[in-house]
Amino acid sequence: MNKLKTAVTDFGWPRIIIFFFVVALFVAAPFVGVRVDGALSDVLARFGQNGILVLALVPMVQAGAGLNFGLPVGIIAGLLGGTLSMQFGWTGWVGFLGAVGVSLPFAVLFGWAYGLLLNKVKGEEMTIAMYVGFSMVTFFAILWLLLPYSSPNMVWGYSGSGLRTTITLDGYWTKILNNFLAVRIGRFFVFPTGLLAFFGAATGTMWLFLRSKTGTAMTAVGSNPDFARAGGVSSDRMRLVSVVVSTVFGAVGILVYQQSYGFIQLYQAPLYMAFPAVAAILLGGASVNKASMVNVLVGTFLFQAILTMTPNVINSVLQTDMSEVIRIVISNGMIIYALTRKTKVSK
């Protein structure tokens, strides 16, 4: 009984409430005429679509650098990879994998610079990360206009230069992962095998990384930097590694997101992309300084379930679209909850 109580407090009431909320949504769905299998199919697709972006937060949390509100830095690297791959005219698997390949060096470079900055501002990482992300996005908005992209599928038709705000991936690699070995069951349910396999592989890679010597050192740095230092580990270096890894995953994450979405969105679109990812991982039970693969999986699933189900179910029940409000309140409420919780590192 007591154990249950501590487990509940550890997990936190907000998460439990949200969990039951999601369960209630699924239970209520058939009664208001929403097909559960269709909804589940949607949730699975979104789960795979967003998962890697959420996964990208893990290393920095583990290394004690906080929630990576600067995720857009990685996203920008991914966008560069995606647009360059299109510019080169690569399509299909070559296009997608090429985009990933091209984005990696940018991600490493950006992540490295971004990590150096974060190492100088220990203790205030989160606010600064947020604004670094914002300025990166707006700065690149200028570059999208100026860089000499020329593929007619990407640039504004009337001026012949400057990338469009939204570029369709049709004919390139739209849903290439989603459709890979996808299994259709019934009329409404599709199991996106390729997408989930890719997400699974990414999660596995992260899991292995955290079990390596470097990953172990990183976790120790986040758990107790002084302990790690006394063990001969440079916390600055580990933090730097964590930022680079996070940025790389951010870049890959956005490419996976876009192939599922079918469009590349540029300019202001990536501005707030870190927030839903942060909310998801916290929803999964992570704290500001501890996160695991389970947190990522559970959190992404719950969060995407809310996003998918609330518009349908709540609209039918209340006859009004309150999903946006629910989404804002839940996701930001979750972040505030995590930020105001006494940090659990015992000293």
């Binding site: 079990r211 172990t216 120790a220 002084d226």
Partner: protein, 532 residues
């Protein structure tokens, strides 16, 4: 001031924390205008006594205390420090509690600012009153004058020399109209000799104005110089209450550390040492609160070398500096090879290991399991407990080997736990200490630093830890440098004991040397006759 009722009298003060008696039947009295020197080793009960006097909440939370505190003959019981302040007792702490960006005046008057009321006061409460700056300056100047020191009322604290900060603190306490008793805890610790002298002169001035002073210091010559009376505490008991006239520093030191004849010291003739293992020359370490200024010593192969001294004198800085945890300089050689400072990794690679005094802060990953805690350093430094995959392309934690290692040490050191997966924070202090030892042993060091190995652990665990150290030294031939505040412990297991005072080694003594010699070294009296 001839007055029969003493200003402060403590009668039969007794206090225990969870069954451990820290004060037993302490009684003494203090008259107006009298300066009382309160001396004792760390843990003698000085701090607890002052906490009782000030009504610190921690005392009530741990079951209150026995005996009576009387002010002007009236029993007084303060519920919090503010009550004590209202009753006219001021305290100057060892650490400064000053606002750096405020001026002398603003700090002296902090939260006691004279103010002028205005309309907003009626509307929104007294905090809307505007400060009366001229009155503030006037009062601060008056307090400074009472001290008889040179302090400009408009200097920012952040731009002051250390001594002036200390004076500002004292001025703050004596600004109160009703101040009768002032307690100063090691006020000269941070001061240069010349500054300390000015301070002592100010204290005499204040005493002449009728303020009673309790002066806590380990610098015994200062105590004899300024105090009218000396009270010595040892192990929670009052061992001496005497007039300071004609008292020798050496006598006080002897009272402080214990009996002159001691049976505990063991003579060890069977010990054999090799050549120099660790040579330290002109080491300085920038560790807050434990600054090492200039330390040189040599440890011989196979020796257990003790480092003692009072808290804050720098003994802890020595291992922390050598291990690269704090900025340090000087020369350190291990087996003749130069060891890079400011680089923990270099120290570890050289074959040294360190059991930190800050068990929870530095020693352990509290939120991780025991196998992590024990294997981590060995994994990072030596690449042990890793399993290679794909022909060494990448390697992962070898959880099995880690588990075996953890279980081996759990058995060897008798660590009481539910298993190797238990989190370090769930263990008791003694068992946590054993985990720290296991972590160091797992590195298989050729020189082991152990810092305060028995701090905060119970008697049984203490013995186990010390026995293990001794055994490790004997069986593996590992040289051990042990830093401890417990002189008894150092004398019991070390081959030589160095005493650190004010960031320097005051002397190195054999463990069987007379206790008074140790006491003198701790009191900053460099004993000429003490020799290694």
């Amino acid at each position: 001031m001839p007055d029969d009722t003493p200003l402060l009298s403590l009668e039969g003060i007794t206090k225990d924390f969870y069954g451990t008696t820290v004060l037993r039947d302490v009684s003494f009295a203090l008259r107006r205008g009298e300066i009382l020197g309160l001396v004792g080793e760390n843990g003698a009960g000085k701090t607890t006594l002052m906490r009782i006097l000030f009504g610190m909440p921690v005392i009530a939370e741990t079951g209150g205390f026995g005996g009576t505190v009387r002010i002007d003959g009236q029993p007084a019981s303060f519920r919090n420090p503010f009550d004590a302040l209202d009753a006219g007792i001021g305290m100057v702490h060892q650490e400064f509690s000053l606002i750096p960006g405020f001026t002398t005046t603003e700090n002296i008057m902090l939260n006691r600012e004279p103010s002028r009321r205005n309309v907003a006061v009626d509307l929104f409460g007294p905090r809307m009153a505007t400060l009366d700056r001229p009155a503030m300056t006037a009062r601060a100047t008056k307090a400074i004058e009472r001290l008889g020191v040179e302090l400009h009322p408009d200097t920012l604290v952040s731009e002051m020399p250390v001594g002036h900060k200390q004076f500002t603190e004292i001025a703050r306490e004596i600004d109160r109209d009703n101040v009768k008793l002032l307690v100063l805890d090691e006020p000269t610790a941070v001061l240069a000799e010349s500054e300390a002298e000015i301070l002592l002169a100010s204290l005499r001035r204040l005493a002449a104005q009728g303020i009673a002073i309790i002066f806590i210091s380990h610098r015994l010559h200062e105590v004899t110089a300024v105090a009218d009376r000396v009270v010595v505490l040892r192990d929670g008991q009052l061992v001496k209450d005497t007039s300071a006239k004609g008292v020798e520093v050496r006598e006080i030191a002897a009272w402080m550390v214990g009996r002159e004849v001691d049976a505990n010291a063991r003579v060890r003739s069977d010990r054999k040492y090799g050549g120099p293992a660790l040579e330290v020359e002109h080491l300085w370490v920038d560790m807050p609160g434990e600054t090492v200024r200039d330390v040189s010593f040599t440890v011989r192969e196979g020796e257990i070398f003790g480092i003692g001294g009072l808290a804050g004198q720098g003994k802890l800085g020595i291992p922390n500096g050598i291990m690269g945890l704090f900025a340090a300089g000087g020369t350190v050689r291990l087996h003749g090879k130069h060891v890079e400072l400011d680089a923990p990794r270099a120290a570890l690679d050289a074959g040294m290991a360190f059991v930190s005094e800050d068990r929870r802060g530095v020693g352990l990953l509290l939120d991780e399991s025991l196998d992590w805690n024990i294997a981590f350093a060995a994994m990072q430094v030596k690449g042990a407990y890793l399993k290679r995959w794909l022909g060494g392309l990448f390697s992962l934690r070898d959880e099995k080997a880690m588990r075996a290692l953890a279980e081996q040490y759990i058995e060897l050191l008798e660590i009481k736990c539910t298993g190797h997966r238990q989190k370090a924070k769930e263990l008791s202090g003694g068992n946590q200490q054993k985990v720290c030892l296991a972590k160091a042993f797992a590195l298989e060091p050729n020189l082991l630093f152990v810092s305060e190995p028995t701090r905060g652990i119970d008697v049984g665990a203490k013995k186990l830890v010390l026995d293990n150290l001794r055994r490790y030294n004997r069986d593996e031939g590992t040289t051990i440098v042990m830093v401890s505040s417990e002189l008894e412990e150092l004398r019991a297991i070390c081959d030589r004991v160095a005493i650190v005072d004010e960031g320097r080694i005051a002397g190195i003594l054999p463990p069987e040397a007379p206790l008074a010699d140790f006491g003198l070294l701790m009191a900053g009296e460099r004993a000429a006759e003490a020799s290694a």
